[in-house]
Each structure stands twice: as structure tokens, then as C-alpha cells.
């Protein structure tokens, strides 16, 4: 039943925001920052529950640990980049949000290069 708590937490936060917004706009931005941080923290606790079984499955299927670690890092980068971009967009600066997303995409690209090269190598080995 804790999904109810989480949703109510968001609703109460949004309610507070409507009252704080016209009285103190800067504080309302910090309040949105806090609400999204708490909700992201709860989402993070869910993710940790997912990672352990996936890791076991990867070990079972003897996937190379390096690939699995980079995949996890990529998920982390996407996670944080999305958090920052949404906060910037919420503050009204869509351009900065776009820049944050660009940096996130580039970081993911950098991490994905070894995996892509490994795939291409295995494919070329298969070809006669």
C-alpha cells in the first residue's frame, strides 16, 4: 500500500506548491526540487530491488561482467540526467534542460562504445 503514500506525498507537495508559488516563487522552486528528490530516492530503492536478480541472471547466463557493469552505469547516467533536465525545465530554462540531456546522451554514448565494438567483433568473427 505504500504506493498510496508516495502518490499522496506528491499530491500534498503539489498542493503546497500552489500556495507557495505566488507568495514566494524562489522557495517554490526549491520545494519542487525537494519533492522530486524524495520521489527519485523512493524510485531508487525500487531499482536496487530489481538490480540484484538481474545480476544473478547475468551471472547465470555468463554474460561478461564488464558489459553488465556498463549497462548499470548507463542506467545511472540516464537516471541523473533526466532528474537534472526535469528540474531545469521546471525552473523555466528549457535550454539548460536540453544541454543537460545532451551531456547525458554523450556520456551514455561514450560508455556504449566498448559494447558496440565487442558486438561488431563477434559478428565479423562469425562471418566466413
Amino acid at each position: 500500500m505504500d504506493i498510496l503514500q508516495i502518490v499522496l506525498f506528491g499530491i500534498v507537495g503539489a498542493l503546497l506548491l500552489t500556495s507557495v508559488r505566488e507568495l514566494a516563487p524562489q522557495v517554490s522552486f526549491l520545494l519542487t526540487l525537494l519533492i522530486s528528490a524524495v520521489l527519485f530516492l523512493i524510485a531508487l530503492q525500487r531499482v536496487t530491488g530489481i538490480l540484484a536478480p538481474i545480476e544473478r541472471l547475468a551471472a547465470l547466463a555468463d554474460v561478461n561482467v564488464l558489459f553488465f557493469a556498463t549497462i548499470i552505469k548507463i542506467i545511472g547516467i540516464a537516471y541523473i540526467a533526466e532528474f537534472g533536465a526535469e528540474i531545469a525545465r521546471d525552473a523555466g530554462v528549457g535550454s539548460i534542460a536540453g544541454k543537460i540531456e545532451l551531456v547525458g546522451k554523450l556520456a551514455i554514448l561514450v560508455l556504449a562504445v566498448p559494447i558496440v565494438t565487442a558486438v561488431v567483433e563477434t559478428v565479423t568473427h562469425l562471418l566466413p
Binding site: F9, L16, V20, A24, V27, L31, L44, G76, I80
Partner: protein
Amino acid sequence: MSLELHVLFQIAVVGIAAAVLSSLLKQSGRDEIATLVTISALVLVAAVVVSNIGHLFVQIQNVFANQ
């Protein structure tokens, strides 16, 4: 850090109180104290929010960066 609703209410109260206080001070002619009050409220709220964000990022590092 579980769902702390009271942190939310504290921040809202600080924001509203600062707004009311600063408008009160503006009416009674002390403008510089009004700006001081607003800025101090902002700093207080920012301190709380930054500590929570720091806690979130530490958690993220523990989850994603320890493989």
C-alpha cells in the same frame, strides 16, 4: 530516508512566513530588513534541499557506481 512529509510542511511554512514578514516590513518602511528576511529564508530552505539532494546523489552512487 523515508517519506518525510514534515520536511515539506516546514519548507512551505518558512516560505510563506518569509513572504508575509517581508511584505509586512515593506509596509512599515524597513525595506532592507525585508530583503534580508527573504534572503535568509531562501538560504535556510536551500540548505535543507541541498542536503536532501546530496543524500540522493550518494544513494545513486552506491547503487549504480559500485560494480
